[in-house]
Symmetry: C2
Subunit: 207 residues, 2 copies
């Protein structure tokens, strides 16, 4: 059975758990508290030298890091990932956009507001993330004003990747009321079979 | 014919041009000077709302953003990208690692040293990128101490993605002498058929 090492407040981990729920796949969940350094122990670094969650351990004991790689691995051959061509490339375009332009400001502001003492330095860091975060949301809004889903005309792992931190962007101080097309898309994602809320009392599929 | 919009000092663009050279594919190159705001004009934003280079325009006029997506699109069905399974996921793991953990500090320090006035604020920004950049290089060094290539036992787009900014990391103040396994890997990449240097006087394949 698959084992997922995760910190449940992480949107990156939620992406993988959401896809596993859509797919109806069972897995073992091992929680690692990043705030207590549990991903920086020698044992954990032996599994993932980059010291991050989520981390997916396969049946043979080998580990796969990076939520984007896991979504592609688990999505292969399912409706959540096109088989190839420009549609598959478009999925990846949005997933790389998410990791480079979207997640750093939006998850970064949220993390600092939820887990850091609000010193002047931390407040300044959050303030510096405002403009790039709004820019990323603006790019999403423009896209979603023209279409229902980010790629391939259907719900894919690109939507899952962008949903995770967008739907809790308010926890980083971003006001989604300014982005009506994003709001409608969030509702569409929430209506997908198998959807469950982040930080749910009981995670689906957890053995 | 493919058209690549690019800024030649960008490692992200170099990744795509390097793969095109390996594949022996011709393309039209359109230079956009990011320092002069040429990727923020209305015409450019209509092609890429995220306002970044590189941008790949296909024969039908549609555009693909994100170098990682382009490498996967162009690499599909070639030896540079495994067909599927864990090997393909491993390629993506390293490509997402590059965009999230490696490129921001390493390319970020290089960009600020090459293109920004060295004010106290900019110097402090560069200093703050030192530790995450060294951490990313440390992860690469550990991997390359154990194997020649990042995925699938051969040179893939994961190596291309990581090579682009690693081989010019010294321009961001990182001393690669501390990373001997990375040094040997850089030599192996340089020995690949079709390799050409970043900022070459004549770009291979440019029509």
């Amino acid at each position: 059975m698959l084992t997922l090492y995760d910190y449940l407040d992480s949107g990156n981990g939620y992406k993988v758990r959401l896809l596993l729920a859509h797919l109806g796949r069972d897995y073992t969940l091992v929680e690692k508290d990043i705030m207590k350094g549990e991903t920086r122990t020698p044992d954990y670094l032996a599994m993932n030298p980059n010291g991050r969650i989520p981390l997916l351990q396969l049946d043979d004991g080998s580990c796969l890091a990076e939520s984007g790689a896991m979504l592609n691995y688990l999505g292969e051959g399912t409706p959540y990932l096109p088989n190839g061509g420009i549609e598959r490339a478009r999925v990846l375009q949005w997933m790389f956009f998410e990791q480079y332009s979207h997640e750093p400001p939006i998850a970064g502001a949220r993390f600092r507001m939820r887990h850091k003492e609000q010193t002047d330095e931390v407040k300044a860091q959050i303030e510096a993330l405002r403009a790039p975060g709004e820019a990323a949301l603006g790019v999403m809004e423009g896209e979603l004003a023209a279409r229902d889903w980010f790629a391939a005309g259907r719900y894919t792992i690109a939507d899952i990747a962008l949903y995770a931190y967008t739907h809790v962007a308010d926890q980083g101080g971003f006001d989604l009321a300014a982005y009506p097309a994003i709001g409608r898309w969030l509702d569409r994602v929430k209506a997908q079979p198998g959807w469950f809320p982040m930080l749910a009392p009981e995670e689906p599929g957890v053995a």
